[in-house]
Amino acid sequence: MLTILFDGIAYGMLLFLLACGLSVTLGLMNLINLAHGAFAMAGGYVAVVLVNRMGLPFFAALPFAFLVPALLGALMDRTLYRRVYFMTHLDQVLFSIGLVFMSVAAVDYVMGSQQVFVRLPRALEGQFNVGGVGIGRYRLLIIVVCGLLALLLQHLLTRTRFGSRLRAAVDDSRTARGLGINVNFVFALTFAVGSGLAGLGGALGAEVLGLDPQFPLKFLIYFLIVVAVGGTSSITGPFLASLLLGICDVAGKYYVPTLGAFVIYTIMIVVLIWRPQGLFSRVASR
């Protein structure tokens, strides 16, 4: 029971790491970026290449799994995404689905279509018991890393100058511009960091979620649920939504394996009927 809770929390934390960038970009630029998962996949494959093929230690590869997608995100933002900010949602959806398809096919071409795993260091394998609760070492690492990152993000967003600029831009980008905040720069940086975090999530999650070229499509619905349920106005909303989703998904798959996949959709429908604007959002989403 507690082990399932533990696994669910680890899973939820991963989802948060993967999806938080998406919720910020949606809130900030009203940009629906369905290709967010592609950056996560990029991070995962960076880790796979560095660890499995080049023999880098796992922990040394993680910064690269953050940096490469972040740079990729910054590049894409400046070259392609900036053209679609002010287009309609339909255009954004078409554009980002196109990117997803291209990334899926390209990764399939370069890396092959089979599922891959990152080779983990010996110290992270297996599990130990604390008062009868089986705790996987690797999952503990995920919880610690993601928990720290969530705290860091929350601190960045609420306590720093950049955070207040970001929040101002999310609340009303026109007024923020009028106050002299360089919204484009704030957005480019946020997009890059969001992509990087997704990449890190992809690398950490390769072991738990599985990594193959279909990754961005498989987890698209999870990202959408996290953002739609959690709202786009804070970090805490998506965080709680991710935890809820992770715990319910793991518990559902464990207790009712035949219905496992349907549990999250049921929750989605219930939430939508109960609170159409998301569980934790302050204001109506735009």
């Binding site: 369905l34 959806v93 689905i97 096919a105 649920i225 989605m268």
Partner: protein
């Protein structure tokens, strides 16, 4: 005062009535379709598929082009109709194909009606999530209920009775093509009636500005539910046509790729003038055939590239290029 209003009303009514007239280009389009029956006898199988995809795209155009609802899971209704038609035929519940087609469309409409209440809620993002979610749930159901649907192997042993008790579906696809065109034409005429009716005009108003539409006294939610249900029925009929003409039905009919391909087709042809879906389906199939000859694998990459390029170039330009048949070139949303 009353006189002025009367004149104005008549003028508006005249304008709207004229707008709904059949244009020469439209008549030429349907004549060309009929001509393809006789001129391309060897290609009837693929033409039938294009007609089915065209009908499917037409159904998406009803909700996207007219009501402005973005759907990532329109394949849900297509697949539902396809499985419904397959099961009806397999278990001998409704053997006459035309009747089975109607029943499948009705079943899909019921599903569309039920899920429309979820689609109404929230923003574009929520709609994406809901439509995608509904399609995923159905696909998972079709996969799990393998005693009913055959699971991943697909629904086998479907035997389609002769059409109207007389015309059997043959290997050359002649009957299938005539059948598809006839169904497509009838449904197209109905859709045309719908979008030029006051109901259709109110949908365009809702798409333009929900708040103003509400202020004008248009019952926004009821209209959206209605059009979503109609579109679901259309998609269900398209799916049922596919099952009936191929006597097979697999999980592929519910896949996400199908919904995404559908969006691409409609965007190639242009939204909001009904012919976009038909033209787009033909163009899509043509490109698919052509690319499959060059690179059979990695078709997905080219679909993605087309989507990206179309958006970056600007859909209006593509719409204007493809939309020479539709007299009005509207700016899409």
């Amino acid at each position: 005062m009353n006189g002025v209003r009367g004149v104005l009303t008549t003028a508006v009514a005249d304008h709207l009535a004229r707008r709904a007239n059949w244009r020469p280009a439209e008549i030429a389009f349907w004549l060309a379709v009929v001509a393809s029956l006789f001129l391309l006898p060897g290609r009837h199988l693929i033409l039938a598929e294009i007609a089915i995809l065209g009908l499917f795209a037409l159904s998406l155009d009803l909700i996207l082009g007219y009501a402005g609802i973005i759907s990532l899971g329109h394949a849900a209704f297509f697949g539902f109709g396809a499985y419904a038609a397959g099961l009806l035929a397999k278990h001998g519940l409704v053997t006459e194909p035309l009747l089975a087609l109607l029943v499948s469309g009705l079943l899909a409409a019921v599903l569309g009606f039920a899920s429309s209440f979820l689609v109404l809620r929230g923003s574009d993002l929520t709609r994406l999530m809901v439509t995608l979610g509904v399609a995923l749930v159905l696909r998972e159901l079709a996969n799990r209920l393998d005693w009913l649907t055959g699971g991943a192997d697909g629904l086998q042993g479907v035997v389609i009775a002769p059409l109207l008790g007389r015309f059997a579906f043959d290997i050359t696809g002649h009957v299938a093509y005539v059948y598809c065109i006839a169904v497509l034409f009838v449904l197209f005429v109905i859709a045309r009636r719908i979008v030029y009716s006051p109901f259709g005009l109110s949908l365009v108003a809702i798409k333009g500005n929900v708040l103003r539409a509400q202020a004008l006294g248009i019952p926004v939610n009821a209209r959206l539910v209605a059009v979503y249900t109609i579109a679901a029925a259309y998609a269900g009929i398209a799916g049922a046509l596919l099952t009936q003409t191929t006597a097979f039905c697999s999980l592929d009919v519910l896949s996400f790729d199908r919904s995404a391909d559908l969006l691409l087709m409609l965007i190639i042809g242009g939204t909001g003038y009904l012919y976009g879906g038909l033209i787009g389906a033909a163009a899509f199939k043509f490109v698919q055939d052509w690319l499959a000859g060059i690179t059979p694998q990695y078709w997905l990459f080219w679909v993605g590239l087309m989507l990206v390029v179309i958006v970056l170039v600007g859909r209006e330009r593509f719409g204007a290029w493809a939309g020479s048949i539709g007299a009005r070139r509207r700016r899409g949303t």
